[in-house]
């Protein structure tokens, strides 16, 4: 076993998640990232709206 492999095993990498991504095509991986990207933007917007509403005088 190489030194690098040992280091990988000691880290907290989710090896099953890596295997799952490797089963996808490059296009599917890009789509998954795009979906995550859009979801993060939506959640950030929702958070900002919530914060803005909290600051509004009642």
């Amino acid at each position: 076993m190489s030194e690098e492999t040992k280091i990988d095993k000691q880290s907290d990498v989710d090896r099953g998640l890596v295997a799952m991504f490797l089963r996808m095509s490059p296009e599917e991986r890009l789509r998954a990232n795009d979906n995550a990207f859009r979801t993060i933007l939506e959640l950030r917007d929702a958070y900002r709206r919530q914060k803005a509403n909290e600051r509004k005088p009642k």
Partner: protein
Amino acid sequence: MPTGGRKPTSASLSEILDGLLEAGVDFILVGGLAAVIQGAPVTTMDVDVVHSRSPENIARLISFLKSVDAVHRRLDDRLIEPTERDLSGKGHVLLTTRIGPLDILAVIEGGKSYKELLDHTVEIDFRGHSLRVLDLKTLIELKKTSTDPKDKQRLPVLKETLRQLEEKYGHGEDKEDSNNE
């Protein structure tokens, strides 16, 4: 994230890649999205590319950037469009476009430019175009020297992805994996 006063209206990092390829821009995809394409389960919020700085390529790049309303990413709300001069230098040009953030890099870690990186790329068939992506092995080597905490955090995931690819296809054959999928 600084936006230069503009927010993406229909965010899609794939569309940025598609647009660059449709416009005939010579570039190499580097950074997080290069890792995503090669199978690393990470999420990235921008597209990083190293471009060829030939005058013809910069003209094509400027034309694409205009079509997606690109402006420099800034902390204030000023809208400053990128110029040919910006893209001819050795610096990083960090932009906001209407389809997402795009970082255009003249050189990356170790001062490596488009020409120097070409031998370390894999070509992926993407929507009818050939997309050049910095190979995972080189990406890992470059990230090892990075001082960016995000890079340090991702490094074990990239190494594990490469380990599984090599286990599946043997050393140095991850290029084949990317082409065949």
